[in-house]
């Protein structure tokens, strides 16, 4: 198929960016979206132009590296997939596709479609862990039985890949879904309860410091999340936060 791409180009963090039109031919439905960009880049390189830089790595939807706002939606029109799992069969001949980086103050553009998501790392560093040192003498894995439903729910929260689609989908660029996924995972497990009070306060504080906005309660994040992380996690984080701040 033949497509008209409109792509955000930006030389570096300091420069101003702009949209550039790139018509492209010979795209097949079986190609992934990123393979389509590979074809574009191969063509640009052969013409002596600079290729469009974009983040990607595992190309199977688990590392969370790829991003891209495609026609206004994080990871494009398909549901429960990352951009690398989006296939061109979702588009039709003659389509215009607008490709931009995820937009958020806390995610500055580095170059073209590449953004800096280190704010997410710093939120995790503030408390996204259980303080247990490595030793060969921790208690046996089966010493504490854990309710299967709680374990499954913790797992569902833990599948967040940290891509940032929730932030990009949100009018306020809120990182509530991301932060609450980790808070929830540990809040649901007995191992995580011990530090629950400090964890939620520290992670929320860092989230605010990074410049993410407040939750809009519109649920766009849940719709766009490639891993289907549920809004319930935000409710749980709010509950945890409230009880943490009132208990002190």
């Amino acid at each position: 198929m033949k497509l008209n791409l409109k792509i955000w180009r930006q030389k570096d963090a300091k420069s101003k960016g702009h949209m550039v039109d790139y018509p492209i031919n010979g795209i097949e439905g079986d190609m992934s979206f990123l393979e389509m960009l590979d074809v574009l880049n191969e063509g640009l390189i052969n013409k002596g132009e600079e290729p469009v830089e974009f983040d990607h790595d595992c190309r199977e939807g688990i590392c969370g590296t790829c991003s891209l706002q495609i026609n206004g939606e994080p990871h494009g029109p398909d549901r429960l997939v990352t951009t690398c799992q989006l296939h061109m069969r979702k588009f039709k001949d003659g389509d215009t596709i607008v490709i931009e980086p995820f937009r958020a103050t806390a995610f500055p553009v580095i170059k073209d479609l590449i953004i800096d998501r280190s704010a997410f790392d710093r939120i995790q560093q503030a408390g996204g862990y259980i303080s247990v040192n490595t030793s060969g003498n921790t208690v046996d894995g089966n010493a504490t039985p854990i309710n299967k439903h709680a374990a499954d729910e913790a797992m569902d929260a833990a599948t967040c890949i940290g891509c940032g689609a929730c932030v990009a989908a949100c009018k306020n660029a809120s990182a509530m879904l991301f932060t609450s996924a980790k808070v929830s995972q540990f809040a649901l497990l007995p191992q995580g309860r011990i530090e629950a009070v400090d964890r939620v306060q520290n992670m929320v504080r860092q989230m605010d410091l990074e410049g993410f906005g407040n939750c809009t309660n519109t649920g766009a994040c849940e719709v766009e999340c490639p891993k289907g992380i549920s809004l319930e996690n935000i409710a749980r984080m709010n509950r945890e936060y409230l009880s943490a701040t009132t208990k002190g």
């Binding site: 570096d12 097949e28 079986d30 190609m31 992934s32 393979e35 590979d38 191969e42 640009l44 390189i45 052969n46 002596g48 132009e49 600079e50 830089e53 983040d55 990607h56 790595d57 595992c58 190309r59 199977e60 939807g61 590392c63 590296t65 398909d78 429960l80 580095i110 280190s118 997410f120 790392d121 995790q124 560093q125 408390g127 996204g128 862990y129 259980i130 303080s131 247990v132 040192n133 490595t134 921790t138 208690v139 046996d140 894995g141 089966n142 039985p145 854990i146 309710n147 299967k148 374990a151 499954d152 913790a154 797992m155 833990a158 599948t159 890949i161 940290g162 497990l189 191992q191 995580g192």
Partner: protein, 667 residues
């Protein structure tokens, strides 16, 4: 042969590790604060090592090319992690895990290392549970297990089809805790370009900041490489796009021996190649073989009709299907080890029974499992006289709970619903057993340079069993290296900070700069991908699932010519200052072009078939791998001498004191 001292402790097998831990030197808490360690790579091995070393009190710097340590490719591991817990009471033990791993590796790994791995496996599960890794559980609240290829027990712990993700996020969380304490400095979007040696010891690295393009000098008392495997030498593999051999290869060029490069794992259950623009291959977890049955049509005309789209697989009667793994290997059936399953699939496809357009695919079918689970569910839920439809619905729900994310992934890529029609799969490059040679302490042949996880060669011999890569990565990082590195560092408590303005750092940085300039200065004829794809074709066709002397010799010649062409004609747009993804790729492909040749040389030198290394010339009448223990029971460790063709072979003889060498049989 004095150079290759594996430093295996004396004493009975089961006591070696404990004894060794008691014998080695320690570094006191106050001195640890004065010692710096660099960890390159932040996957399971690097991440767990960095966190543990920082907990102990060392000053750690981590480096990864990704934008966050959480994105290392360990994250893509699906099926699970083995541990000899014997929670299922099905006869598992440390010895049995040890035995299965040695046998699975076709008797080409070190007994002492593998036994230690089996011993530590149980600690990994305890540690990860304590960290809050949400492993799958049974209704009673205890940990659930499943089985993978090559074993007869259920010892695999898992978190849906995302075990690697959960374990990596556990290690990442442990790292974050230390970053927050200031004990780890994390350098993301950085690539190690060279290793710096001072008086023969590894004392630092030259790293390139991938955002600014600047070269940086970092010093430390020891360097840990945990940078994964080199499967991308094949261009198409299940590795991440950025996975590369640069750090290990740079260390090799500085004196670290590279062991068994030809031992590569071709994984049987991957989604087949669909087109020329394909950039990578996607794995379908081995755990699927617990419930999926692998087959092709019995008759050639049926296979042809399926390829032409005239016949659908579900229309083919049971008696017209050839469940070739169950037929050839009744004892292990669909759960034979990966090398065996891959070769069997290739054999059927080569004989004309392949089922996709290109004839390079076999079926992985869940219909029988859906029926079985459906009936079981109907019974437990008290549904009397359930009809076909109800049973199928109940069965599909069970399959969805177990493998939902994999089925979804398959459907997105192939555009077919695997609940209704069998999956199509074909083998693809997945893992590399070879890697930097290390001794029992995980030290390379360069003093102070350690290597962990997939990047080293040590535990999987010629074939790795499923759910063992995660086990090795975490055992190395959490439980082995933190002990053994202390022994080495105990000599460094008076050394003080290593300065980065020495002539050695200066020379290394200049060499990196020169190399980058040379890459940028090509005649600009072909893109980096052009060369990478060409290399991949040579590797897949001549060094792939079956190899022979004639083709390996051709491969050596072709790769060497391709390398020369690359250095003269490669085209990299932009410049070396600032972010330049083409330049990053070029540096990695340049190293693959050297490694690829050594790979072929190693395969040519090993005149036997073992595990994933299958030489056409050496097979039994039934087409199974024919090992030659008399002549090849050794680790091939290559010393760099300028060009891959000049590499010098050193042999580490493998001694089996506890296991009798046998012909591997899964029949």
């Amino acid at each position: 042969m004095g150079i290759l001292d594996s430093k295996i402790p004396t004493g009975p097998l089961a006591e070696k590790w404990t004894k060794h831990k008691n014998d080695i030197h320690l570094v006191g808490p106050a001195n640890k604060r004065n010692i710096d360690i660099i960890v390159v790579g932040t996957g399971l091995a690097g991440g767990s090592a960095a966190a543990t070393l920082a907990e102990l009190g060392y000053n750690v710097k981590t480096f990864c090319y990704q934008d966050s340590p959480r994105r290392a490719h360990s994250i893509a591991a699906q099926g699970g992690i083995n541990a000899a817990k014997n929670y299922q009471g099905d006869g598992d033990s440390t010895y049995r895990l040890f035995y299965d791993t040695i046998k699975g590796g076709d008797y080409r790994s070190r007994e002492a290392n593998v036994y230690r791995l089996a011993e530590e496996s149980v600690n990994i599960i305890d540690q990860c549970v304590a960290q809050g890794v949400p492993f799958a559980r049974e209704y009673g609240g205890l940990l659930d297990n499943r089985s993978v290829g090559g074993v007869l027990v259920s010892r695999t712990f898992y978190a849906k089809g995302q075990t690697g993700q959960q374990l990596l996020l556990g290690a990442y969380a442990a790292m974050n805790r230390q970053i927050n304490r200031g004990k780890i400095m994390s350098f993301t979007r950085h690539e190690m370009m060279d290793l710096v040696l001072i008086k023969g010891k590894a004392r630092g690295i030259i790293a390139r900041n991938l955002v600014t393009g600047e070269l940086e000098r970092h010093s430390a008392h020891a360097i840990v490489l945990a940078t994964g495997g080199y499967g991308n030498v094949f261009y198409l593999s299940t590795n991440a796009m950025g996975s590369n051999v640069m750090a290990a290869w740079r260390a090799h060029r500085r004196g670290a021996f590279f062991a068994n490069p030809c031992f590569t794992q071709i994984h049987p259950t991957c989604i087949p190649v669909s087109g020329d623009q394909q950039s990578k291959l996607t794995l379908m977890s081995e755990s699927l073989r617990n419930d999926g049955r692998i087959w092709v049509p019995k008759r050639l005309e049926d296979a042809k009709a399926i390829r032409d789209g005239k016949l659908k697989p579900v229309q083919l009667k049971e008696e017209d299907r050839d469940y070739f793994l169950e037929r050839r290997y009744p004892a292990f059936g669909n759960l034979v080890p990966r090398d065996v399953a891959s070769r069997a699939a290739k054999e059927r496809c080569d004989a004309g029974f392949g089922v996709n357009k290109t004839g390079e695919a076999v079926y992985l079918d869940f219909a029988a499992a859906i029926q079985r689970y459906g009936k079981e569910q109907a019974l437990t839920q008290g549904i009397v006289n359930a009809n076909e439809k109800e049973i199928a619905k109940l069965g599909k729900a069970v399959i969805e709970e177990k493998y939902g994310n994999l089925f979804q992934m398959y459907e997105k890529i192939v555009d077919e619903n695997p609940y209704e029609t069998p999956m199509m799969i074909y083998p693809a490059v997945h893992y590399t057993m070879g890697g930097l040679w290390v001794d029992y302490n995980l030290q390379t042949t360069i003093e102070g340079c350690y290597c962990l996880g997939e990047a080293n060669f040590s535990d999987h011999g010629a074939n790795r069993l499923g759910a063992s890569a995660l086990m090795q990565g975490l055992a190395d990082g959490y439980f082995v290296l933190p002990y053994t590195i202390g022994d080495y560092l105990s000599n460094d408590i008076r050394t003080g900070k290593i300065p980065t303005d020495s002539s050695e750092f200066e020379a290394a940085e200049t060499a990196v700069k020169t190399r980058l300039e040379k890459l940028m200065g090509g005649s600009r004829l072909h893109s980096v991908d052009h060369y990478h794809k060409k290399l991949g074709k040579i590797m897949w066709n001549k060094c792939g699932m079956a190899r022979n002397a004639k083709e390996l010799k051709e491969a050596i010649k072709e790769i060497s010519e391709l390398r020369a062409d690359f250095w003269t004609n490669v085209k990299i747009p932009g410049n070396a200052e600032g972010m330049n993804q083409e330049l990053e790729k070029a540096g990695r492909v340049a190293d693959f072009l050297e490694l690829g040749e050594l790979f072929a040389k190693d395969a040519l030198e090993r005149n036997e078939s073992c595990g994933g290394h299958f030489r056409d010339e050496y097979q039994t009448p039934e087409g199974e791998a024919l090992r030659d223990d008399k002549n090849f029971k050794y680790v091939a460790a290559w010393e760099f001498k300028g060009e891959p063709k000049d590499a010098v072979l050193h042999k580490e003889d493998l001694v089996y004191e506890n296991i009798e060498l046998k012909t591997r049989s899964y029949k």
